[in-house]
Protein backbone atom coordinates (compact mmCIF):
# COMPACT_ATOMS: atom_id res chain seq x y z
CA UNK A 1 0.00 0.00 0.00
CA UNK A 2 2.73 2.46 0.99
CA UNK A 3 4.89 1.42 -1.91
CA UNK A 4 1.96 2.11 -4.21
CA UNK A 5 1.46 5.55 -2.69
CA UNK A 6 5.09 6.33 -3.23
CA UNK A 7 4.73 5.26 -6.83
CA UNK A 8 1.74 7.50 -7.28
CA UNK A 9 3.72 10.43 -5.88
CA UNK A 10 6.66 9.60 -8.11
CA UNK A 11 4.32 9.29 -11.04
CA UNK A 12 2.78 12.69 -10.28
CA UNK A 13 6.20 14.31 -10.17
CA UNK A 14 7.31 12.70 -13.39
CA UNK A 15 3.89 12.80 -15.06
CA UNK A 16 3.99 9.01 -15.09
CA UNK A 17 1.35 6.93 -16.74
CA UNK A 18 -0.50 6.13 -13.51
CA UNK A 19 -0.87 9.82 -12.64
CA UNK A 20 -1.98 10.57 -16.18
CA UNK A 21 -4.55 7.80 -16.08
CA UNK A 22 -5.89 9.07 -12.76
CA UNK A 23 -6.03 12.64 -14.04
CA UNK A 24 -7.81 11.54 -17.19
CA UNK A 25 -10.38 9.77 -15.06
CA UNK A 26 -9.61 6.45 -16.72
CA UNK A 27 -8.64 5.01 -13.43
CA UNK A 28 -10.39 5.88 -10.22
CA UNK A 29 -7.94 5.97 -7.31
CA UNK A 30 -10.12 3.53 -5.37
CA UNK A 31 -9.95 1.05 -8.22
CA UNK A 32 -6.21 1.33 -8.40
CA UNK A 33 -5.85 0.72 -4.68
CA UNK A 34 -8.37 -1.97 -3.94
CA UNK A 35 -9.06 -5.03 -6.01
CA UNK A 36 -11.55 -7.65 -5.05
CA UNK A 37 -11.77 -7.88 -1.25
CA UNK A 38 -10.52 -11.08 0.36
CA UNK A 39 -14.13 -11.99 1.19
CA UNK A 40 -14.74 -12.43 -2.55
CA UNK A 41 -12.06 -15.12 -2.64
CA UNK A 42 -13.75 -16.98 0.21
CA UNK A 43 -17.22 -16.92 -1.39
CA UNK A 44 -18.54 -20.42 -2.04
CA UNK A 45 -20.49 -19.64 -5.21
CA UNK A 46 -20.25 -17.40 -8.23
CA UNK A 47 -23.11 -15.10 -7.20
CA UNK A 48 -21.61 -14.36 -3.78
CA UNK A 49 -18.16 -13.84 -5.27
CA UNK A 50 -19.50 -11.32 -7.76
CA UNK A 51 -21.50 -9.58 -5.05
CA UNK A 52 -18.35 -9.22 -2.90
CA UNK A 53 -16.53 -7.80 -5.90
CA UNK A 54 -19.29 -5.28 -6.43
CA UNK A 55 -20.19 -6.71 -9.84
CA UNK A 56 -23.83 -7.10 -10.76
CA UNK A 57 -25.23 -8.55 -13.97
CA UNK A 58 -22.18 -8.12 -16.21
CA UNK A 59 -22.99 -7.87 -19.92
CA UNK A 60 -21.86 -10.70 -22.22
CA UNK A 61 -19.11 -9.51 -24.50
CA UNK A 62 -17.61 -10.98 -27.65
CA UNK A 63 -14.52 -8.84 -27.18
CA UNK A 64 -13.25 -11.08 -24.40
CA UNK A 65 -11.29 -14.11 -25.53
CA UNK A 66 -10.61 -16.99 -23.18
CA UNK A 67 -7.93 -19.36 -24.33
CA UNK A 68 -8.02 -22.63 -22.40
CA UNK A 69 -7.97 -26.30 -23.38
CA UNK A 70 -11.34 -27.90 -24.27
CA UNK A 71 -10.31 -30.93 -22.27
CA UNK A 72 -7.86 -30.68 -19.39
CA UNK A 73 -6.34 -34.03 -18.52
CA UNK A 74 -4.94 -32.72 -15.27
CA UNK A 75 -7.17 -30.34 -13.33
CA UNK A 76 -4.22 -29.28 -11.15
CA UNK A 77 -2.70 -27.31 -14.02
CA UNK A 78 -5.07 -25.73 -16.52
CA UNK A 79 -3.47 -22.98 -18.61
CA UNK A 80 -5.81 -20.02 -19.10
CA UNK A 81 -5.23 -16.89 -21.14
CA UNK A 82 -7.71 -14.00 -21.13
CA UNK A 83 -7.56 -11.21 -23.68
CA UNK A 84 -9.91 -8.25 -23.41
CA UNK A 85 -10.36 -6.17 -26.53
CA UNK A 86 -12.47 -3.66 -24.58
CA UNK A 87 -10.83 -0.24 -24.48
CA UNK A 88 -9.90 0.97 -21.02
CA UNK A 89 -9.85 -2.44 -19.36
CA UNK A 90 -8.81 -1.87 -15.74
CA UNK A 91 -9.48 -5.25 -14.16
CA UNK A 92 -9.85 -8.88 -15.13
CA UNK A 93 -11.25 -11.44 -12.71
CA UNK A 94 -10.98 -15.16 -13.36
CA UNK A 95 -13.63 -17.53 -12.06
CA UNK A 96 -13.82 -21.34 -12.23
CA UNK A 97 -17.53 -21.79 -11.62
CA UNK A 98 -17.56 -25.16 -9.87
CA UNK A 99 -14.48 -24.77 -7.70
CA UNK A 100 -15.10 -24.76 -3.93
CA UNK A 101 -14.14 -21.08 -3.96
CA UNK A 102 -14.90 -19.99 -7.53
CA UNK A 103 -12.94 -16.72 -7.66
CA UNK A 104 -9.45 -17.80 -8.65
CA UNK A 105 -7.73 -14.51 -9.33
CA UNK A 106 -8.39 -10.83 -9.81
CA UNK A 107 -5.98 -8.65 -11.76
CA UNK A 108 -5.97 -4.87 -11.45
CA UNK A 109 -4.28 -3.41 -14.47
CA UNK A 110 -2.82 0.09 -14.63
CA UNK A 111 0.02 2.09 -16.11
CA UNK A 112 -0.28 0.87 -19.69
CA UNK A 113 -0.88 -2.80 -18.95
CA UNK A 114 -2.96 -4.27 -21.73
CA UNK A 115 -6.14 -6.28 -21.27
CA UNK A 116 -4.29 -9.56 -21.19
CA UNK A 117 -3.41 -12.05 -18.47
CA UNK A 118 -2.08 -15.55 -18.67
CA UNK A 119 -1.85 -18.02 -15.81
CA UNK A 120 -2.43 -21.60 -14.75
CA UNK A 121 -5.29 -22.60 -12.48
CA UNK A 122 -6.68 -25.62 -10.61
CA UNK A 123 -10.11 -26.99 -11.44
CA UNK A 124 -12.00 -29.46 -9.29
CA UNK A 125 -14.28 -30.65 -12.07
CA UNK A 126 -15.65 -29.86 -15.51
CA UNK A 127 -16.95 -26.30 -15.39
CA UNK A 128 -17.21 -22.97 -17.10
CA UNK A 129 -14.23 -20.66 -16.80
CA UNK A 130 -15.59 -17.16 -16.61
CA UNK A 131 -13.77 -13.88 -17.14
CA UNK A 132 -15.21 -10.69 -15.69
CA UNK A 133 -13.68 -7.59 -17.22
CA UNK A 134 -14.09 -4.10 -15.77
CA UNK A 135 -13.73 -1.23 -18.21
CA UNK A 136 -14.87 2.34 -17.67
CA UNK A 137 -16.79 1.36 -14.53
CA UNK A 138 -18.83 -1.29 -16.37
CA UNK A 139 -18.55 -5.04 -16.19
CA UNK A 140 -18.41 -7.46 -19.07
CA UNK A 141 -18.18 -11.22 -19.05
CA UNK A 142 -17.46 -14.25 -21.20
CA UNK A 143 -17.17 -17.95 -20.40
CA UNK A 144 -15.66 -21.12 -21.83
CA UNK A 145 -16.25 -24.70 -20.76
CA UNK A 146 -13.29 -26.85 -19.82
CA UNK A 147 -13.77 -30.59 -19.33
CA UNK A 148 -11.64 -31.97 -16.55
CA UNK A 149 -10.82 -35.67 -16.46
CA UNK A 150 -8.81 -35.66 -13.21
CA UNK A 151 -9.71 -33.04 -10.60
CA UNK A 152 -6.99 -30.90 -9.14
CA UNK A 153 -8.44 -29.85 -5.80
CA UNK A 154 -7.51 -32.95 -3.80
CA UNK A 155 -10.38 -34.99 -2.41
Amino acid sequence: MNAFRRNVLKGAAGAGTVAVAVAAGLLKPTQALAGAPRSAFEAKNVGDAMKSMGVSAPADSKDITIKAPDIAENGAVVPVEITSGIAGTTAIALIAEKNATPLVADFDLSGGTQGFVSTRIKMGQTALIRAVVTAGGKSYTAAKEVKVTIGGCGG
Binding site: A3, F4, N7, K10, G11, G16, T17, V18, A32, G35, A36, R38, A40, F41, A76, V77, V78, E81, A96, N99, A100, T101, P102, L103, V104, A105, D106, F107, D108, L109, S110, G111, G112, T113, Q114, F116, V117, S118, T119, R120, I121, K122, G152, C153, G154, G155
Partner: protein, 104 residues
Protein backbone atom coordinates in the same frame (compact mmCIF):
# COMPACT_ATOMS: atom_id res chain seq x y z
CA UNK B 1 10.43 -19.47 1.49
CA UNK B 2 12.85 -17.32 -0.46
CA UNK B 3 12.88 -19.76 -3.34
CA UNK B 4 13.98 -17.83 -6.38
CA UNK B 5 11.40 -16.27 -8.68
CA UNK B 6 12.01 -16.11 -12.38
CA UNK B 7 11.03 -13.12 -14.49
CA UNK B 8 11.46 -12.78 -18.22
CA UNK B 9 10.57 -9.52 -19.92
CA UNK B 10 10.99 -8.96 -23.63
CA UNK B 11 9.90 -6.18 -25.95
CA UNK B 12 7.57 -6.98 -28.84
CA UNK B 13 7.03 -3.73 -30.71
CA UNK B 14 6.09 -1.13 -28.07
CA UNK B 15 4.68 -3.74 -25.72
CA UNK B 16 6.68 -5.49 -23.02
CA UNK B 17 5.80 -9.13 -22.63
CA UNK B 18 6.40 -10.07 -18.99
CA UNK B 19 6.40 -13.67 -17.78
CA UNK B 20 6.81 -14.56 -14.13
CA UNK B 21 7.28 -17.95 -12.53
CA UNK B 22 6.98 -18.04 -8.74
CA UNK B 23 7.90 -20.89 -6.45
CA UNK B 24 5.11 -21.65 -4.03
CA UNK B 25 3.20 -24.76 -2.88
CA UNK B 26 -0.22 -23.04 -3.29
CA UNK B 27 -2.07 -25.31 -0.85
CA UNK B 28 -5.81 -24.67 -0.93
CA UNK B 29 -6.47 -25.95 2.58
CA UNK B 30 -8.93 -28.47 1.12
CA UNK B 31 -6.48 -31.21 0.21
CA UNK B 32 -5.99 -34.18 2.53
CA UNK B 33 -2.61 -35.66 3.27
CA UNK B 34 -2.64 -39.16 1.73
CA UNK B 35 -0.84 -40.70 4.72
CA UNK B 36 -2.45 -39.04 7.73
CA UNK B 37 -5.88 -38.16 6.32
CA UNK B 38 -5.48 -34.70 7.84
CA UNK B 39 -6.22 -31.56 5.88
CA UNK B 40 -3.09 -29.85 4.63
CA UNK B 41 -3.21 -26.27 5.96
CA UNK B 42 -3.85 -23.54 3.41
CA UNK B 43 -0.69 -21.87 2.19
CA UNK B 44 -0.99 -19.76 -0.92
CA UNK B 45 -0.01 -16.41 -2.40
CA UNK B 46 -2.71 -13.81 -1.79
CA UNK B 47 -1.28 -10.78 -3.53
CA UNK B 48 1.12 -10.08 -6.36
CA UNK B 49 2.29 -6.60 -7.32
CA UNK B 50 4.24 -5.76 -10.44
CA UNK B 51 5.92 -2.48 -11.27
CA UNK B 52 7.70 -1.33 -14.41
CA UNK B 53 10.07 1.62 -14.12
CA UNK B 54 8.60 2.39 -10.66
CA UNK B 55 4.96 2.53 -11.81
CA UNK B 56 2.54 -0.11 -10.62
CA UNK B 57 1.25 -1.96 -13.67
CA UNK B 58 -0.56 -4.86 -12.06
CA UNK B 59 -1.93 -5.78 -8.66
CA UNK B 60 -3.36 -9.26 -8.51
CA UNK B 61 -5.33 -10.99 -5.81
CA UNK B 62 -4.92 -14.75 -5.95
CA UNK B 63 -6.59 -17.70 -4.27
CA UNK B 64 -5.57 -21.30 -3.71
CA UNK B 65 -7.19 -21.99 -7.08
CA UNK B 66 -3.98 -20.97 -8.82
CA UNK B 67 -1.72 -23.90 -9.68
CA UNK B 68 1.38 -24.80 -7.69
CA UNK B 69 4.41 -22.68 -8.66
CA UNK B 70 2.23 -19.95 -10.15
CA UNK B 71 2.82 -18.61 -13.62
CA UNK B 72 1.69 -15.11 -14.58
CA UNK B 73 1.96 -13.40 -17.91
CA UNK B 74 0.95 -9.84 -18.78
CA UNK B 75 1.73 -7.18 -21.35
CA UNK B 76 2.68 -3.58 -20.66
CA UNK B 77 2.36 -0.96 -23.36
CA UNK B 78 4.74 1.99 -23.36
CA UNK B 79 7.53 0.20 -21.49
CA UNK B 80 11.07 0.50 -22.85
CA UNK B 81 13.98 -1.89 -23.10
CA UNK B 82 16.13 -1.32 -20.03
CA UNK B 83 13.19 -0.55 -17.72
CA UNK B 84 13.24 -2.43 -14.43
CA UNK B 85 10.42 -4.88 -13.76
CA UNK B 86 9.82 -5.72 -10.11
CA UNK B 87 7.43 -8.43 -8.97
CA UNK B 88 6.63 -9.10 -5.32
CA UNK B 89 4.18 -11.37 -3.56
CA UNK B 90 2.73 -11.92 -0.10
CA UNK B 91 1.16 -15.19 1.03
CA UNK B 92 -1.50 -16.02 3.61
CA UNK B 93 1.17 -16.76 6.23
CA UNK B 94 2.80 -13.36 5.73
CA UNK B 95 5.80 -14.67 3.80
CA UNK B 96 7.06 -12.30 1.12
CA UNK B 97 9.33 -12.45 -1.85
CA UNK B 98 10.42 -9.99 -4.45
CA UNK B 99 12.54 -10.13 -7.57
CA UNK B 100 13.42 -7.87 -10.43
CA UNK B 101 14.59 -8.09 -14.00
CA UNK B 102 15.45 -5.73 -16.81
CA UNK B 103 13.37 -5.62 -19.97
CA UNK B 104 15.55 -6.97 -22.76
Amino acid sequence: MAEPMRIRATMAGDVADVKVLMNHPMETGQRKDAKTGQLVPAHYITEVTATVGGNTVMKAGLSGGISKNPYLGFKVKGAKAGDKVTVSWVDNKGDKNSADATIG
